[in-house]
């Protein structure tokens, strides 16, 4: 593996259609500086994000996974993000027990107008992941 300074981590961000995807969009339009590490996967609601999607991202080589959605109370589908939160509790506990560094998994609520917040979030995560290096679950032959 290349030196950590050159190495660009791969971060998978699950974004909901109505809020956090808009946030990512706003970040781009606002020309906030952010690294090219993120792969955004748009879902209609963060409630759609099953823990197995997160596992899958890690097993395919993601160095960090972000679960993002609308702020609590703002869900386009009444309470989808509350379900996300509940599932995330289990997922977080499990990832912790598995021994994967906690710096690799995040839950964050970002609205469509919070472009700067999105960009800062990505920057923070990227910096943290660069510090701890590639994920131990990354398959052979995947950079």
């Amino acid at each position: 593996m290349a030196d950590n300074n050159d190495w660009e981590p791969k971060i998978v961000a699950f974004c909901c259609n109505w809020c956090s995807y808009g946030g990512a969009d706003t970040a781009g339009m606002g020309r906030f500086q952010q690294p090219a590490s993120t792969r955004v996967i748009r879902v209609m609601c963060s409630g759609r994000i099953d823990p197995l999607h997160v596992y899958n991202a890690f097993l395919e080589g993601a160095d960090a996974v972000l679960v993002t959605g609308c702020h609590l109370g703002d869900c386009h589908y009444v309470n989808g993000n509350e379900k996300t939160e509940l599932k995330y509790q289990f997922l977080e506990e499990m990832v912790k027990q598995l021994g994967l560094e906690p710096e690799r998994l995040y839950l964050n609520w970002i609205s469509a107008s919070e472009g700067e917040r999105f960009a800062n979030f990505i920057n923070d995560v990227t910096a943290k992941v660069k510090e701890i290096g590639p994920s131990p679950l990354k398959p052979e032959g995947v950079s």
């Binding site: 596992y55 899958n56 379900k83 509940l86 289990f90 506990e93 499990m94 027990q97 021994g99 679950l137």
Partner: protein, 384 residues
């Protein structure tokens, strides 16, 4: 009249049943009475094959119920799945009953149609290892064994020639024999989650060995006892204070042992060692799916998230099958040990699952298999 909460001592009125049963034949008689009086359509019982093997059968024949075996320490099956979709009465160890209750939460079993006669359980043993233990530790030919008992922390075997030999369970377990690993840290010894909690703890004096102590846990338990008394199959009398105290004491000692072992078994590994450990432990998995098939809590069927999102052709560092199962059972694993028993490559899968489940269940203060009205926390996703 019998009331919920009553603690009774009783036995089968039929001498033959009383003699053959493990302790007074009360359980057999209660099950037989439930069947003959039409409370249920069938009964799940163990059919005796030899001292180390019995197979669960579902029967609507009272004679077959009466001929069924007493409790056997080296037959570690879980009976929950035999109650699925039936109007049935069944005996069960605490883990059988836990599994039935978890199945009922998943709408696989209707508890109103299921009568659960719980049996006190200090633990069960793997049959092949038990035979090896008899040869190595007891110097007894496994074929010569006619009976077994656990008393005062000792495992006793009786042989054809009328002799018996006792060795302390602690000593056996230190030598790698004795109870299954999960039984060693199990902390439910009296099945208070059943309808009728039966066992020989607290049976004292003249009745020792020929009567059963039972606690009526709920209305269904009351019905079971009343029905069996009415049918003339059992006689019961209130248990003495001394009997109740002794039962409590035995239970207390066993539960304490379980707690101590759990602390010892589940010491947290350092963060950086856990992932390599789990990967290494699961690396020999041959994807047989036995752990899923044997799991008495699982209810998804053949096509489940754990199987459909997993492929033999995956190039992953950990198996999706195991990751999904570890998560899905984190709130509901009852620690029955069936998965470890059937694993063809001897992965300690119960221990691995429990190392994920214990923190989650503790954090959420959820005890699976105890209360049918308490839904698994993960289910809240669907319910809200």
């Amino acid at each position: 009249m019998v009331e919920v909460g009553d603690k009774l001592v009783g036995y089968a009125t039929d001498d033959e049943v009383r003699k053959r049963g493990a302790s007074g034949g009360l359980v057999t008689a209660v099950l037989a009475a439930a069947l003959e009086k039409g409370m249920v359509e069938s009964v799940v019982v163990l059919k005796h094959i030899d001292e180390y093997e019995a197979v669960p059968i579902i029967t609507d024949d009272v004679e077959e119920v009466l001929a069924s075996t007493g409790s056997m320490h080296s037959v570690p099956v879980n009976l929950a799945k035999y109650a699925v979709d039936r109007k049935v009465a069944m005996p069960g160890k605490p883990c059988d009953i836990k599994a039935v209750i978890e199945q009922s939460k998943r709408n696989m079993i209707d508890l109103d149609n299921t009568y659960l006669v719980g049996l006190n359980c200090g633990g069960t043993m793997p049959p092949v290892l038990t035979k090896q233990m008899l040869i190595e530790m007891y110097d007894i030919d496994p074929e010569d064994v006619v009976g077994e008992d656990i008393e005062k922390g000792k495992l006793i075997y009786r042989t054809k020639d009328g002799n018996e030999k006792a060795i302390s369970i602690e000593e056996l377990e230190e030598a790698g024999f004795g109870r299954r690993k999960n039984c060693q840290y199990c902390q439910l010894k009296i099945p208070t989650n059943s309808d009728l909690a039966c066992g020989n703890w607290g049976v004292i004096g003249d009745l020792a060995g020929s009567a059963t102590f039972c606690e009526v846990m709920n209305e269904k338990g009351k019905k079971l006892i009343e029905n069996a008394v009415e049918a003339g199959r059992i006689e019961v009398a209130p248990a003495s204070d001394k009997a109740i105290a002794i039962r409590e004491k035995v239970n207390g000692v066993m539960v304490k042992m379980g707690e101590t072992t759990q602390e010892k078994v589940f010491t947290q590994m350092p963060d950086e060692e856990r992932l390599p450990y789990y990967r290494e432990a699961l690396a020999d998995c041959i994807d047989c799916g036995g752990c899923k098939l044997a799991c008495p809590v699982c209810s998804c069927g053949d096509d489940a998230k754990c199987t459909l999102f997993h492929s033999l052709g995956d190039n992953y560092k950990m198996s999706m099958f195991h990751l999904v199962r570890l998560l899905h059972l984190s709130d509901s694993c009852i620690g029955c040990g069936q998965c470890t028993d059937v694993c063809p490559v001897d992965i300690p899968i119960t221990r691995i699952q429990m190392s994920f489940s214990i923190p989650v269940q503790t954090k959420l203060n959820y005890k699976p298999g105890m209360n049918a009205d308490e839904k698994p926390p993960f289910f809240e996703v669907m319910i809200k």
